[in-house]
Symmetry: C2
Subunit: 390 residues, 2 copies
């Protein structure tokens, strides 16, 4: 898969008119660059330059002690050095004579922002007085396309992760009862994860997240000792990594009160509204649209029904990690930088995850996963159609 | 421990004449800043600023969905935002009016280089037109002192990790036999690690590293299918993390040939030379010396005996990770930047790890751990005195 991605990168460099892409890192276990997952799948110790040209051989310059290990990864011609990387680096650049050189910094996309500021200063110091100093540009568009455009094999792997997540959701549905704590529910899910021999999609302390009732944090928090009560809306945010690819799904449950056979209208209506907003977004998404257009569609659908807007983006890309590719279905908020304006591309894989706070009950939210096709979004998940009643 | 380190940081800021230390991060699970391990012990999602002033309350500005989780870490007053961090950040700075503001970039020390270049551009963009823009300095000296100066509790934890590592080394001594592969030896060690319920100090693929015989990579490589043969010198580089603190030790074995009752002189002499170089370095190290002086002492001792110099530093600091604190016992090579010239401080914990390549046999190397005391280095490890014979 590493070689496949390096070849794909060369094509994207040509498309973008960039001559060379340099990933410049050191001690990558401590301060990692997410680009290494795509093109190397290993760590390096001393200052190292991983150079992929639009034309020609990919070359890595690494510390002498790393040479044999980096060579084994298979994607690069490897050159070792002992005292300083500067000479080998300049020699190699003089051979290639690149005009535009992409390096990994981005104000918008953390996935393309693996170059530390100290390493940036080192690199520009090495290049001072050469024409290459002026050729430096952001690799944002290269990395975004490289991550976003999923191959058939990548989509198969994401689908496998989605299916296992859905299976574990159905097991937890038969496990949960009023009186249990969020932590007990999370522990059950983690036991299933371990039983399946897989990893969680993000850190275990927050994966799964379990939120029950009206006073829960609602997002980005670990499970607490809060107990499930009758009349609670409960949601779970969870995913697993299978063969290096992630899922990220949310589901919503309602705990019936004495005498209830279904949820109250105050719970059912927001649930239905989310379901419809998701269906609308999936139906209308097309390659070439900007992410903000799809976000606005779902956001307006929800506010038109009289609910508050969700305080986050409608969806993000998933793949090797739960934020895999810059393109985001998000509103034009300052903190999203240029992300709302990026074009949606075919074969990108997005979550769709609106939420509605239901005062007195809890938070309803579903998160589905689609792949972008020429004629709309194809669901990789099986969308939740009914509120799960317990 | 988080609060203890935040308090310690305030003292160091005063010492360094810095008014405020800002750790500015986003999606820290993807592009982490090693400073977060010291002052937060958690991850954040949106752009977040963790601000520790020389005087007053530590404050964190984080995305609204992260507020409750970050508050639970206990070290910071937490302020949430939804659309952009800029306003809250500037408001807070206007209240503090800091002159010198330390941010996490460093050309020399990756531990102080957690600020990505994209985040640096965002931050300087937010500060444009304010006096704070001109007050930005590197937090290198702050982080180096904060990491390097170990408390008694930190030294106890490192010692516990060292002792467990030595215990596992003694188990592997009774396990290894000629004919086994490096991978089999590594698998045995990892089984012991799992049995003890601890983690390896660095990534499992390289921890332990096992190198047998004259053709081995010798460092920074995973174990291979190479088989141990009689007449091989074998070394293992290994450590465990116990209660958040690491060890990092190396030991050397020799596999006796038919009829041998001890190792040949060609093996014994370099082994003794390493042992003596370590003892010399530990005896002569003092607070206030520069790291390069101790490196030179050991390096010259070895080359004076007619052996090649080791192609790396004599030693690095250990603690929360295997490179914990900038000060390094290293030669004046360009790739080490200013590290050779940093002052050694009391209560820093260093490895000492020279090596000698023995043509035809393999690589002899020991790695010991010392804590710097006013009158020299105190060993936390039990230095290897005799070559282990199997």
């Amino acid at each position: 898969m590493i070689r496949e991605k390096i070849e794909q990168a060369k094509g994207i460099l040509k498309e973008e008119g960039i001559d060379l892409w340099v990933t410049f890192v050191r001690e990558s276990e401590v301060v990692g660059d997410p680009a290494l997952d795509l093109i190397l799948g290993a760590n390096c110790t001393w200052q190292s330059a991983f150079m992929i040209p639009a034309e020609g051989e990919a070359t890595a310059i690494v510390g002498s002690l790393d040479v044999s290990r980096i060579r084994e990864t298979g994607g690069f011609e490897v050159v070792g050095y002992t005292t300083s990387i500067k000479e080998s680096l300049l020699e190699h650049l003089d051979r290639l004579k690149p005009g535009k050189i992409a390096i990994n910094y981005s104000e918008n996309d953390c996935m393309a922002d693996g170059l530390s500021h100290g390493m940036y200063r080192l690199l520009t110091g090495y290049l001072e007085g050469t024409p290459y100093r002026e050729g430096l540009v952001s690799s944002e568009s290269v990395i975004s396309k490289l991550r976003g455009r999923k191959s058939a094999e990548e989509i198969r792997r994401i689908t496998a992760a989605v299916e296992l997540t859905e299976e574990i959701f159905s097991r937890v549905s038969t496990f949960m009862r009023p009186g249990m704590t969020e932590k007990e529910v999370a522990a059950f899910i983690l036991k299933e994860v371990d039983k399946e021999g897989v990893e969680t999609s993000w850190e275990r302390a927050l994966c799964p997240s379990v939120f029950t009732g009206p006073e829960s944090a609602g997002a980005h928090a670990g499970p607490t000792d809060r107990k499930i009560e009758r009349g609670h809306v409960l949601n779970i945010d969870f995913g697993v990594r299978v063969n290096g690819y992630c899922s990220d799904l949310q589901r919503t449950w309602y705990f019936l009160r004495e005498g209830e056979t279904t949820a109250p209208d105050d719970v059912l209506r927001p649930f239905e509204t989310i379901r419809e907003a998701i269906a609308l977004a999936a139906e209308r998404i097309r390659p070439g649209m900007e992410g903000r257009a799809i976000d606005a569609l779902a956001r307006n659908y929800i506010t038109d029904k009289g609910y508050d807007e969700y305080p986050h983006a409608l969806g993000h890309q998933v793949g090797r990690s739960t934020h895999d590719g810059a393109g985001l279905l998000c509103p034009e908020w300052e903190r999203y930088g240029n992300l709302p304006y990026l074009a949606i591309e075919e074969n990108q894989v997005y979550t769709i995850e609106p939420r509605i706070n239901i005062p007195g009950f809890g938070i309803a939210t579903m998160e589905e996963i689609i792949v972008v096709r020429p004629d709309g979004g194809e669901f990789l998940s099986h969308p939740q159609r009914e509120l799960f009643l317990i």
